[in-house]
Chain length 314, copies 2
């Protein structure tokens, strides 16, 4: 690396959309970033994708010097080259236990003293794929929300053998690059974010199955009702502000209401999935899904810029 | 009413924060609004509160002519005067069955031909307080999220005896004044919004009770992670865009994950409430709750203005 670089090098392993997003996150914060992916086709897309993304972020005011950021990203065709000089490896390969275990073994074999590895795994805990690594105490889950360069959060999930210092190192690094850490004390199915999202999805499917409201109206309840405040406040701060005496006052007033609503576990039946799909396809044609995804990402970028302008990043 | 007014008159009954917010909503859309509250102290605050709110909304670009809007609001000291000439009554009195039943009887006795009544009740279904009304087929729940003038949503919950035409009338009116309706087909505990909010709260409390993450970090998972997209997309659109083949593809890939996470019903124990309260009070002193509420409302206003600027109101 060039000697005038003051920030430590970060290695990105697996350079699909998540890995590429991570490359932008670290480079944006001033880190030299070394990217590896085994696929030549994937490697070829990283810089052009980053270039387009950085241009969009510049337009909305999220970044100021896209050229310098892009210059800090180097794409390499060997894992060893990408890890050279890196203090941290962000792994984002395909999410199967087999793929995660294989890449973790390869990273483990090349791991320098004190180098730490975070996996972007959204659901597989690291204990299921790092048990055989000799440096398994330096592996942790660092799970982003897609796209990581526009959603400033990361879940940190240690395995039972992850060293406490590793959690602290990654939390500090993530804070430094603007990805607010959510620290879990232990592994749990779905981690925190998929659990919070999951309970809402389960309830929404059940309400739909029972014919209480349409797909479109259930979406409106969030996008026009509950969602706007969640863009800048979590559920606990929300209830803390929603009763005169704060969270305790709210909890005693409303726990019977909320705990009384719990329903029996319910699957998402094939029939209700088919019905919901038909309803969604009348709202958005399958041919328009890609365009709507681009709209979503543009909106997330603009909302991130709005939050930044309101000093809501922290 | 003055004869050059082209929009129908709306009556507001109960003029606390919710009723006052509704007055601004209807007046903003061009309706003459006639407000009644039995308390002289409450009546005295309506216009000054509306004045301040409209000034804030003007600053963020949400409204353009606050003076005209304010002029459309008239505060009256008799229910009968407020209901004079009104086509729709929005009732927002204190939320007990007794108070709702009493005011519904009074409104019922004065109800002109075809006039419709929506109650702001957030949890009590109208069948529990309109059964004795002679015009009970014209009563419906029209439940806003607080504050209604900044959160553009309303839940419409018919009782079994509410006429279908009444639901359609209120849905059209709400669309016309910019409050997107969420139509429920029948009464259900918590309606839709408190059910969706409630399942997330129940899960967040359980994760906290089990020591998985701190109050602050659980809040970050939403405010920095899941919340931003929910500010403009509901859960079904979110998953429709989150798998290559849309909602059906997503559902078959992930239903086992999400339905497998369902936990046993869990109360919010006194102990966990006390612990959470202590943690919130280290983040925000009780003395600062009011200031933080003002911040929240300012942010909701700015976010609403941002969404309007992005043409995200519909």
């Amino acid at each position: 690396m060039e000697e005038h670089q003051s920030k430590p090098v970060i290695a990105i392993v697996g350079a699909g959309l998540i890995g590429s997003g991570w490359a932008v996150v670290f480079a944006r914060a001033g880190h030299p970033v070394r990217v590896f992916d085994p696929s030549e086709g994937v490697r070829a897309r990283v810089l052009s994708w980053a270039n387009v993304s950085l241009d969009e972020m510049t337009e909305t005011g999220l970044v100021e010097d896209p050229k310098s950021i892009l210059e800090r990203i180097t794409v390499l065709d060997a894992l060893e080259s990408a890890m050279e000089g890196a203090v941290y490896v962000q792994e984002s390969v395909f999410e199967t236990v087999e793929a995660k275990a294989a890449v973790s073994r390869s990273i483990d074999a090349l791991l320098g003293d004190g180098v730490i590895v975070g996996s972007s795994s959204s659901g597989i805990p690291s204990s299921r794929f790092t048990a055989e690594c000799k440096n398994r105490d330096r592996f942790i889950i660092a799970h982003p929300v897609n796209p990581p360069h526009l959603i400033p959060v990361v879940e940190l999930v240690p395995a039972s053998w992850t060293a406490e210092g590793v959690v602290n190192f990654v939390a500090d690094l993530m804070n430094e690059v603007g990805q607010k850490p959510v620290r879990l004390t232990q592994e749990i199915d779905g981690f925190v974010m998929n659990r919070l999202q999951g309970v809402m999805l389960n309830e929404a499917w059940a309400l739909y199955e029972d014919g209480i409201a349409s797909i479109a109206d259930l979406d409106v309840a969030i996008s026009h009702g509950l969602g706007p405040r969640w863009a800048f406040m979590g559920p606990f701060e929300t209830i803390d502000l929603n009763a005169p005496g704060g969270i305790e006052d709210y909890a005693y007033r409303l726990r019977d209401l909320f705990t009384g609503m719990v329903r029996e576990p319910r699957g998402w039946s094939d029939e209700v999935i088919r019905k919901a799909t038909d309803e969604r396809r009348t709202i958005l044609d399958a041919a328009d899904l890609a365009a709507r995804r681009a709209w979503r990402d543009a909106m997330l970028g603009r909302l991130a810029a709005f939050k930044k302008s309101q000093e809501l990043q922290d």
